[in-house]
Subunit: 127 residues, 2 copies
DNA sequence: GTAAAACCTGACGTGGATGTGAGAGACAAG
DNA sequence: CTTGTCTCTCACATCCACGTCAGGTTTTAC
């Protein structure tokens, strides 16, 4: 498939796909005219890249991680990197849970009392 | 306390604190000489702002949210905004869980087999 | 063969949360 | 009073994952 088809099937822009290649995250065969051609596995690859981006990883970190994911590299350093990023993600999940709980407190306070509800215990957000 | 003390106690840079004020997220009393003075509650305030930033909210969204948090505003729109942001955070938590699980699969594959471990079932990342 | 659609490589623009430096004023300590 | 540290307000710089436009080439459809 060419880049436009990959873009539509993955929901990622053409520009982003070229950027992934520029960063070394995604490779493509080239036609005689220089156009990129991707195999079906590229779809999963792009989804993985998107997932990692959405987790707050930089393209540089993803670039370091992908060789581990491709199981071509397995050194103590690569394992440490994997564990470190896993820990970072875990920490971020906890942070998000905290934020969600705070919002839940605000929502509960704003919805349960009678209409108007002009004031809330100020400790709701200061546990 | 002055801005430097607030910065050190919260771990946020002086520049960032001025930026929060510029965005309307944080207010400060001013001395006769124009210097900012904060009460103790500013520490919690900054932590809240940081939490919301870390959840991927923009300063504009936080600005819209803070009146709800301060319990000064409670309109149908504000409640809808709260619920929408809560949903966004929930979605992001799920995305992070997904990424963490993928990394866990890679970690498990790279650590459990004997040393070397040159290959991994390719389905590990394609559930 | 021809026109439309897709693709190519540069290269500059963007937005948001800061970093950074300049030059000047404020304030506590001696 | 003086010195050193902190703070003030501009205002420009940075990073990063793209958006976007320009000008040209390739592929596809008829």
């Amino acid at each position: 498939m060419r880049i436009g088809a990959l873009a539509t099937t993955t929901g990622v822009s053409v520009r982003a796909l070229r950027y992934y290649e520029e960063q070394g995250l995604l490779t493509a065969a080239r036609s005689s005219g220089g156009q990129r051609h991707y195999g079906d596995s590229a779809v999963e690859r792009v989804h993985l890249i998107q997932t990692l981006y959405a987790s707050g990883l930089s393209s540089r970190t993803i670039l370091d991680l992908l060789p581990c994911v491709d199981a071509k590299v397995n050194t103590p350093e690569s394992r440490a990197l994997l564990r470190a990023e896993r820990a970072r993600i875990d920490e971020q999940i906890n942070q998000l849970r905290d934020a969600r709980d705070r919002l839940d407190a605000v929502i509960a306070a704003s919805e349960s009392p009678a209409s108007g509800c002009a004031h809330v215990e100020s400790t709701a957000l200061v546990p």
